[in-house]
């Protein structure tokens, strides 16, 4: 199905000369936050311009091939790194943002997280006030429990059940999903209800304009507000500027470029930041993994990627105690498997030969709830590009050690023949006692443990106290009159669950409120 571009999509890599565009609202980013905001604001009758650094690719372009999906649809070829290269960040960069490439796992914000935000950051939301917004976005994205488990997720359920550990079915944002398992490369059958297929077409119907391959470089201030956004067109590869500039002038600006992009744009623009908070408290849900070798084929690359989860250890020592974690399965196509398995040479070749029998589990570390978990910080390279540093301390490593042991315990309970960790010092272990003893001895150091993140949160914290928050309780910037942040960067801690539904929900509420105030103005 060839997709001819509608008139109101501009691929800026093709522009030959500078452009000037005016609108009511300019939205930077088209992911979970920006997509929902674009839909709401354009339906309210406002003229919306969306600015997206990534390309416009859609159903017919998605070929289930890692070789073209990662360079096209992700930041840094799905290999974005922290400054010390210790953490690999999988982050979408395309129209639809993370929602184009995520694994469709949807969770409401845990009660514990909301209570923590109320107590420590003055948030006023609770599950009751959010309920109507949840219902609205769950219907928009068709979010429903999906109890169709592939072999990988079945093993998680089987192991957790056998141990008597809590486990649940995951709700997913899909329609007529065919359980292919290639969500991470863009859904090739249009089943995933990403913002790419829902909100953005809705916004386009209401005359929104979408500018792709365009990087918002700087917010230009005049008085106490943003007058216009200076943007740089990028080449078709999408990393280097072509030299063509686009100026976007709007009454109001919505930042929705995510936990790295939104604070980086504020820093580049030198927005007022009297308490030095911008880009601080960046959370990653640092993720570690283990691999089981099963007797029967698992084919971990096929089937809906994540359909089961265990929260057995999510709050294992209370909300603010030792770091808890959420347990999930992951899809494992060969390119991702090859990088996640740290070994090299013959050992790596042998591990890869076992791929059809590998059953991977991950622990998603709930960061940000403890004094010793202040997260990372975003700063700028000399060329203005963002740089994320994330110090790794003993508090985190203790949690990771605990997580390795639990993941392997589930896998043995599920009938694994042998189990190993994604860690340079891990061997194959034949039973749980052996594995447990080995994990006790493993060095917990960067580059020994393979660390990943698929959820970047924080950096523009929302809160009631002006000395501890970048944006107020509606998401409005505290020192700029016409700037609202609508993305995962407003979270004061990590969520403790995959963050897409929390972002959709808060974006729906925030953008409705913004639409009302802009229409009255």
């Amino acid at each position: 199905m060839p997709d001819s571009l509608p008139r109101n999509i501009v691929d800026c890599s093709q522009l030959q000369q500078d452009l000037f565009i005016e609108a009511d609202v300019a939205i930077v980013g088209t992911g979970a936050g920006g997509g929902v905001a674009a839909r709401t604001l354009s339906q309210a009758g406002l003229r919306v311009v969306m600015i997206e650094e990534g390309p416009f690719k859609t159903t017919g372009d998605f070929r289930m091939q890692e070789s073209d999906a990662y360079p096209t649809l992700y930041h840094d070829v799905a290999n974005r790194k922290t400054d010390d290269k210790a953490i690999t960040i999988l982050q979408g960069r395309a129209v639809g943002g993370g929602t184009t490439v995520n694994w469709t796992s949807c969770f409401r914000i845990p009660e514990q997280t909301l209570a923590h935000w109320q107590q420590h950051y003055g948030w006023t939301h609770n599950s009751e006030t959010l309920a109507p917004w949840y219902r609205r976005v769950e219907s928009l994205f068709n979010i429903q429990p999906w109890p169709v488990h592939n072999a990988s997720n079945s093993a998680l359920v089987r192991g957790a059940d056998k141990l008597g550990w809590q486990n649940d079915v995951i709700a997913r944002n899909v329609r007529r999903c065919r359980n292919l398992g290639y969500c991470g490369m863009g859904c090739p059958v249009g089943a995933k209800q990403s913002t790419l297929l829902t909100c953005i077409p809705d916004a386009m119907k209401h005359d929104a304009t979408l500018l792709t391959r365009l990087r918002a470089q700087q917010l230009i201030m005049r008085g106490d507000g943003i007058e216009e956004i200076e943007c740089h067109a990028l080449t078709a590869i999408g990393v280097d500027p072509t030299g063509v500039k686009v100026r976007v002038r709007a009454r109001h600006v919505v930042l929705a470029a995510g936990g790295i992009g939104s604070p980086a744009l504020m820093l580049r623009s030198r927005l007022p930041d009297p308490y030095g908070l911008v880009g601080k408290r960046t959370f990653l849900h640092i993720t570690v993994g283990t691999f089981a070798h099963m007797r029967d084929r698992v084919d971990p690359y096929y089937g809906a990627p994540q359909t089961a989860t265990s929260n057995q250890f999510l709050w294992r020592d209370g909300v603010t105690g030792e770091m808890g974690y959420k347990i999930e399965a992951v899809p494992l196509q060969p390119g991702l498997a090859a990088t996640a398995l740290g070994a090299f040479g013959i050992r790596h070749a042998e591990l890869m030969e076992g791929l059809p029998y590998l059953q991977p589990l991950i622990a998603i570390m709930r960061d940000g709830f403890h004094d010793e978990s202040a997260g990372g910080s975003v700063s700028l390279n000399s060329d203005g590009s963002p740089l994320l540093s994330y110090p790794l301390n003993n508090y985190l490593w203790r949690g990771i050690r605990h997580a390795y042991a639990s993941l392997m315990q589930i896998q043995f309970a599920a009938g694994a023949q042998r189990v190993g960790a994604a860690h340079s010092d891990s061997a194959w272990y034949d039973n749980w006692l052996q594995a447990q003893a080995a994990v006790e001895q493993m060095p917990m150091k960067p580059h020994h443990a393979r660390l990943f993140s698929a959820h970047v949160m924080g950096g523009c914290v929302m809160g009631a106290d002006r000395t501890r928050s970048v944006v107020d309780l509606d998401g409005n910037h505290r020192h700029v009159s016409n700037l609202t942040v609508i993305d995962g960067s407003i979270f004061p801690t990590s969520i403790g669950a995959n963050p897409s539904l929390p972002i959709y929900t808060l974006a729906a509420w925030q953008s409705e409120k913004l639409a009302t105030s802009l229409r009255q103005a």
């Binding site: 199905m1 070789s67 290639y182 990393v239 096929y302 060969p334 390119g335 070749a349 060329d383 960067p446």
Partner: protein, 121 residues
């Protein structure tokens, strides 16, 4: 890095290596300038004889190095007490292993049948 993973016949192996190099370059071309520079610096260090000897322990040039010397270097970096060398290992590991295993030529050996066929397209 990929010992044991590539096809044995010399012609096929050379073709695989060509493909990995192409994939490596393709990936690097999609990195932002700061990361591209870091990769270039890493490769320069590996090629420039004084830094090569110092950092990898390999006295012979790359053309003349035998497999065991290369293996010793990779292993030394993998478990080095210097975080910088371990990160160099990770970069080479991910770029080289990634480039090979995203290509269909690698799949038969590991039993990956490839993406499912979609009959309706």
């Amino acid at each position: 890095m990929l010992a044991g993973a590539l096809p044995q016949p010399e012609r096929e192996q050379n073709a695989a290596i060509e493909q990995i190099i192409t994939g490596f370059d393709f990936t690097v071309a999609h990195f932002p300038p700061t990361v591209r520079n870091e990769i270039r610096q890493l490769l320069d260090l590996l090629v420039f004889p004084p830094t090569r000897v110092l950092l990898t322990g390999m006295f012979a040039s790359w053309e003349k190095a035998d497999a065991s010397a290369v293996r010793a270097f990779i292993s030394r970096w993998e478990t080095s007490r210097f975080s910088l060398l371990r990160s160099g290992y990770s970069a080479l590991h991910d770029l080289i292993c990634g480039a090979w295993y995203v290509s269909p030529e690698s799949w038969a050996r590991i039993g990956y049948p490839g993406p499912p066929q979609l009959e309706s397209r």
